[in-house]
Symmetry: C2
Subunit: 215 residues, 2 copies
C-alpha cells in the first residue's frame, strides 16, 4: 500500500520504518521538502520524503504522527483534496509542557484532536489508535508479555476494519484490539496521557502498556 507518514519525530520514524519493513511504499511528510530527518530516514529505509502535501497526495492511507499541538496545521498543509476519502490513522497526542510537569492535555475546543481533524476534513476517514503507548510497543506488541490492549475510535466502520488489519500486521492479535466506539471516544484515550506519564515515573520505564482485565 502507498502510505504517508506525516511527522518526522520518533513516533513517525518508528511507524514509517515498520510500514516500510512490511513492504509498503512509505513517504514521510514534513513541513518542508528538505527536512533533514526525513531525508535521513528515506535514505536509510528505502522510502521517500517530501512535504505534507507531497506525501498525502501520493498516499492511499495517511498516518498522522505529528504532535497534536500542530496536527490541524499539518493536515491543512497536506490539503483537503489530498486527504479526501482516505483513512487517516491519527496517533497524535497534545501535551503542553509550557507550564512544566505535569503537562496539560490539549484538546481543541474541548474535543479530541481526532474529532477536530475529522471536522476539518469531513471527507477523510479518521481513526484514532496507538496513542496510549510508547512507540516501541506500537509496532511490536510482543515486547509486552501476555494480554494488553490497543484502542480504536472512529466513525467509519470500514476505516476501522482497515486500521485493525494494519494493527494485526504489526503483531496485534484481534482480542487485543478494543473498539471504543465512534470518534468522540478518542477524547478518552487522549486524556490517558497524564496517567501514562505518572505510570512511567512509577515503573521507571516506557516499556509498559494498559490491559483491560475482565471478570
Amino acid at each position: 500500500m502507498k502510505i504517508a507518514v506525516l511527522g518526522t519525530g520518533e513516533v513517525g520514524r518508528r511507524l514509517a520504518t515498520k510500514l516500510a519493513s512490511l513492504g509498503h511504499e512509505v513517504t514521510m511528510g514534513s513541513r518542508t521538502a528538505d527536512n533533514a530527518e526525513a531525508g535521513r530516514w528515506a535514505a536509510e529505509h528505502g522510502g521517500r520524503h517530501g512535504t505534507f502535501a507531497n506525501a498525502a497526495a501520493a498516499a492511499e492511507l495517511v498516518v498522522n504522527a505529528t504532535s497534536g499541538l500542530v496536527s490541524l496545521a499539518a493536515l491543512e498543509s497536506a490539503g483537503a483534496g489530498n486527504l479526501r476519502g482516505k483513512v487517516i490513522v491519527d496517533v497524535s497526542n497534545g501535551l503542553d509542557f509550557s507550564e512544566g510537569f505535569p503537562p496539560k492535555v490539549v484538546t481543541l475546543d474541548g474535543r479530541s484532536i481526532a474529532e477536530q481533524l475529522q471536522r476539518a476534513f469531513p471527507e477523510a476517514r479518521v481513526v484514532k489508535t496507538l496513542n496510549t503507548m510508547n512507540n516501541t510497543i506500537m509496532v511490536d506488541p510482543g515486547r509486552i508479555p501476555g494480554h494488553h490492549n490497543v484502542f480504536l475510535s472512529g466513525d467509519d466502520a470500514a476505516a476501522k476494519a482497515e486500521v485493525s488489519a494494519l494493527l494485526r500486521s504489526f503483531g496485534w492479535a484481534g482480542e487485543q484490539i478494543m473498539d471504543l466506539g465512534d470518534l468522540s471516544s478518542a477524547l478518552a484515550t487522549e486524556q490517558l496521557l497524564p496517567l501514562w506519564l505518572r505510570v512511567h515515573g512509577a515503573v521507571g520505564s516506557a516499556e509498559f502498556n494498559y490491559s483491560i482485565v475482565t471478570a
Copy 2:
C-alpha cells in the same frame, strides 16, 4: 478503627459495608442527620449514621465517597476542625452529565478534586485511591482474575502507607498497589473516567479493571 464514610450512594454503602465487616466502627455521614439511606444502612450493618460533621468528628479516618461535584461542600460541612490531622481517603470522581454522554470530567480550577480538597483543608492528609474502578472491585479485587491495579496519590507518605494497609485489608496485594506520586497525580486518575465509560460500553460490563503490564 473509627471511620467516617461520607456519602450514602452505592460507593459509600459498599465501602462502609466492607469496613464494618472488617470490624471497624463506621459512621455514615450525609447532609442531614435523618438521611433514610444512611439510616437503613446503619440498621442493617450495625453501623452509625449522622451529619457529615457528626461522622467526621467521631472518626480517626475519613472516606470521601461523595460525588466529586459536591465533595468540597461536603467536607466544608464536615468542618475543618473535624478533619484536622486525619487521613481523607478520597475515592470521588466528578462527572458532569448535564450535556449528555460522554460526560465532562469536572476538575476544580483545572486541578483534581483531591488537590482542591487538600488545599481547602491543609491540615488533613488527602490520599486519592480506588476511583478508577467499579465499587464492587474496590472492596473485592479477587473478582478480577490475575494482575490488575489500584492507584495511590498523595503528599503524605505516612498517610499513603496507612491507606495502603487499608487496601490490603480489602484484599489488594502489595504488587497491585501502584503509588503514582504526590497528590497532583490524582488528576491523571480522575481523567481516566471517560475511558472507563467507553470500556464499559465496549466490554458490556462494569466488572473490569486496568492492569499495567510491563516488559
